[in-house]
């Protein structure tokens, strides 16, 4: 069960049970809807950007533990970052979950808890759906679908 316990770590289970920033953001000026038609995971990501910085971010929706925890921790990681920093985190996160080498300057921090996803290729889309959705919101795409 070692790979499994790496995937379902306590922190991930905790974020699944008590997702942070889990609500609609009334002050949002950017938002997008993410959908994975394969498994039915579905979420909305809301961002309030001021001077290119993420002043506030939230999400709501339904999905598996991995996608929900990934969304929850993404909102914590991205809050306060600039748009460019948020996009860079997305790219790093993506590299990590598909098992690519990370740069030594990686700023993923506690997001590295999702490293175990690389051993479960079919779950990569669960972990990246919130990030794809955030990316879509920042780029003014309304709907993103990972398939």
């Amino acid at each position: 069960m070692s790979e499994l316990s790496e995937l379902y770590q306590q922190v991930i289970l905790d974020h699944n049970k008590k997702p942070r920033n889990f609500h609609k953001l009334e002050s949002a000026n950017f938002s997008a809807e993410g959908y994975n038609p394969l498994c039915g995971d579905h979420l909305n990501v809301y961002l309030q950007l001021e001077n290119d910085a993420v002043k506030d971010i939230s999400f709501e929706g339904s999905g598996c533990a991995i996608s929900k925890a990934a969304a929850s921790m993404m909102t914590q990681a991205v809050k306060g970052k600039t748009k460019q920093e948020a996009e860079r985190l997305f790219r790093e996160f993506h590299r990590m979950v598909i098992g690519e080498e990370l740069e030594s300057s990686s700023e993923l921090g506690n997001l590295r808890i999702f490293e175990g996803v690389r051993d479960f290729p079919v779950r990569v889309k669960c972990a990246t759906l919130p990030w794809h959705t955030m990316h879509a919101a920042l780029n003014k795409e309304r709907i993103v679908s990972t398939e």
Binding site: N16, L38, C39, G40, D41, C64, A65, I66, V122, C126
Partner: protein, 423 residues
């Protein structure tokens, strides 16, 4: 299988299934001998695709090693061998579903193609503006989308027979929907997401009172119960080989000869013609008219071998064993706190869909997989069913005659483990 037969199977004592030697049956399936993640494989995804016995694998090998050529074309030895083997498989299919004639059994890639063939051949020819098509609320997307496409093209109306909370069709509503505008009824014999066995014989009878032809999606029934298309009096019946122990790419759509002859061809191409000039093409007779191009010869021959295999082990005994597995699994899972079974119809095939409170089916599927257990997690290509039961997805264990009670025990224990991990 009739409702009465299912009931009589349910009333059998455990002694009457004791002569089912499941270990001997399992030995016929090489794929079952492996371990997954260090655990013996527990294959419970049979409703998605079933495993293939050695005799079917061998038949495919013999064909490829000794008989392979194109069919219906050459005058040479191998082409004749291949043609004979392919047409023998068609005759086996005829007997399997008790069709009157082999030419009524059209080989297709699978159920999806079978339904599309009927939609194009029959639907596009005979259905027009204001006409109505009846399907049910428990259809697989394969029996929804083609009809929706037709409705969009022709301005016809799609009507949907609703279901109750157990997952049974509301037949009164069906009666109310049938009328002189109805041009076809397309319903599933067994729901892939819920396991419900529908009373299709009765439904066909009611449709015929209005002169309406009925298509039966038999993808989930053909592998698990005897089928008699003449007794059912269905107009079309379609099923997939890969869900009944044959290779992918094999499948059948049965149609009454009279209807098939009136229909438009499906795909155009080689082998479906009598003569071609640039001015006019004369189509071939049945069944070739509906089999354009080179078919999946090896797979369809494999389907014939799978039918032989099913007959050799005893279809009724197999069905009894599967019903007993379903009963046992339902009992085991029902006692686990937090597990809810979706689909509790009185008449069910061996499909067990379930959800666990606050745990997404994908997480269930991943954890089960780590223990070597293969189940399906998702919407099962039946999103309207998911919506009806107000769930995004379910986990689904589906049993075949080679599964065992011990495997059900492993499933139940691992589900308890899943709940522990998330508690």
């Amino acid at each position: 299988m009739s409702a009465a037969e299912i009931t009589s199977i349910k009333n059998l004592t455990p002694d009457s299934v004791a002569d089912w030697n499941v270990e001997r049956i399992r030995a016929d399936f090489p794929v079952l001998r492996q371990t997954v993640n260090g655990k013996p494989l527990v294959y419970l995804d049979n409703a998605a695709s079933s495993q293939v016995p050695q005799v079917v694998i061998d038949r495919g090998s013999i064909y490829l090693e000794h008989e392979h050529s194109n069919i219906h074309r050459g005058v040479h030895y191998l082409s004749m061998k291949a043609t004979t083997a392919y047409e023998d498989a068609r005759e086996k299919v005829r007997r399997f579903i008790n069709a009157r004639e082999a030419r009524e059994c059209i080989f297709v890639r699978g159920t999806t193609e079978g339904i599309n063939l009927v939609m194009h051949g029959c639907g596009r020819k005979f259905i027009g503006k204001g006409d109505e098509i009846i399907i049910s609320a428990m259809e697989h997307h394969a029996n929804i989308v083609p009809w929706q496409m037709l409705c969009e093209e022709k301005g016809a109306r799609l009507r949907v027979i609703p279901i109750n909370d157990s997952g049974e069709l509301l037949l009164d509503e069906y009666d109310a929907q049938l009328n002189e505008r109805t041009k076809i009824v397309a319903v599933t014999h067994v729901s892939n997401a819920l396991g419900t066995i529908n009373p299709i014989k009765e439904m066909i009878e009611r449709a015929h009172k209005y002169g309406v032809p009925v298509l039966i999606d038999g993808a989930q029934s053909a592998p698990h119960m005897p089928i008699d298309v003449q007794d059912l009096d269905c107009d079309f019946y379609t099923f997939s080989g890969h869900k009944m122990f044959a290779p992918t790419g094999s499948g059948v759509v049965y149609g009454k000869a009279k209807l098939l002859e009136e229909m438009n061809p499906f795909q155009g191409g080689g082998d479906m013609i009598k003569s071609v000039t640039f001015e006019k093409t004369i189509y071939a007779d049945l069944p070739n008219r509906f089999e354009a191009g080179t078919p999946a010869i090896a797979s369809q021959i494999g389907l014939g071998a799978a039918i032989d295999y099913l007959n050799s082990i005893g279809r009724k005994q197999a069905a009894i064993h599967e019903q007993e597995l379903l009963r046992y699994a339902t009992e085991r899972l029902s006692t686990i706190e937090g597990v809810r079974i979706i689909g509790t119809a009185r008449e069910k095939a061996s499909v067990l869909s379930f959800v666990i409170e606050n745990i997404h089916p994908h997480d269930i599927g991943t954890i089960l997989d780590q223990e070597g257990i293969a189940v399906r997690a998702g919407h099962h290509c039946a999103q309207p069913v998911m919506r009806r039961f107000n769930v995004a997805a379910t986990a689904r264990a589906s049993f075949a005659f080679y599964n065992t009670k011990a495997e059900v025990d492993v499933l139940a224990r691992t589900i308890e483990n899943v709940i522990d991990i998330f508690s």
